[in-house]
């Protein structure tokens, strides 16, 4: 059974770099790994997406090793407003109609303090 696991929670302080890892032992051979951020009483929103190696955008970096069995979201210099739950979303199997089944990780509650 495909499992996509993340640490339940992480604590950090403002200005620090935070790395959250998602382990996906049964990832499909192709297709993208995506990370989402969720604030209370809101739906998740897209942060970053990648297929392999490293991707960087204005808010985060994503590191994906060659075997693609894990991925690490890196948030540089976090602030209080980064306190949220972070989810990875990975392809974990093929659909009969084409495309890939997607599975969310269990989510990581990041708490940033002063």
């Amino acid at each position: 059974l495909a499992k996509t696991t993340q640490p339940i929670s992480m604590d950090s302080y403002e200005g620090q770099e935070v790395n959250i890892t998602c382990s996906h032992n049964n990832i499909a051979t192709n297709d993208y790994i995506t990370w989402y951020q969720q604030f209370p009483s809101q739906g998740p929103r897209f942060i970053i997406q990648g297929y392999k190696t490293k991707v960087t955008n204005e808010v985060a970096s994503l590191f994906i090793p060659a075997d693609r069995k894990s991925s690490t979201l890196s948030l540089p210099r976090v602030s209080l407003s980064d306190t949220a739950v972070y989810y990875c979303l990975v392809p974990t199997g093929e659909l009969t109609g084409g495309g890939n089944k997607l599975t969310f990780g269990t989510g990581t509650q990041l708490k940033v303090e002063l």
């Binding site: 499909a28 297709d31 993208y32 995506t34 989402y36 009483s41 809101q42 739906g43 998740p44 929103r45 897209f46 997406q49 989810y87 979303l89 392809p91 659909l95 009969t96 109609g97 084409g98 495309g99 890939n100 089944k101 997607l102 599975t103 969310f104 990780g105 269990t106 989510g107």
Partner: protein, 116 residues
């Protein structure tokens, strides 16, 4: 700006009632999804649809059905609500040539359903 709206933010129903949760997106997306979110379990896919009148089961379809008669609207139906269906329900939509490709899912604000 993509907008995904859900018909209710909060809903209270009784056991055995038929419950309809509506989701509408305004970006002409082919794909639409229904998830439920529970503490400690993250988001779990109930059903998704990649075209009008097309649907596929997700990880936990039991006790649910869906309807997609128009491209912009995806409905989740609880035929006979039970207390274990008390949860947060999230709808999402995406544009992708195939699910799992380079796509971004856009989520609605969620419906918190309480079944008594």
């Amino acid at each position: 700006d993509v907008k995904v709206t859900q018909s209710s933010r909060y809903l209270v129903k009784r056991t055995g009632e038929k419950v309809f949760l509506e989701c509408v997106q305004d970006m002409d997306h082919e794909n639409m999804f229904w998830y439920r979110q529970d503490p400690g379990l993250g988001l779990r896919l109930i059903y998704f649809s990649y075209d009008v009148k097309m649907k596929e089961k997700g990880d936990i379809p039991e006790g649910y059905s869906v309807s997609r008669e128009k491209k912009e609207r995806f409905s989740l139906i609880l035929e006979s609500a039970s207390t274990n269906q008390t949860s947060m329900y999230l709808c999402a939509s995406s544009f992708a040539s195939r699910i799992g490709g380079k796509e971004t899912q856009y989520f609605g604000p969620g419906t918190r359903l309480l079944v008594l």
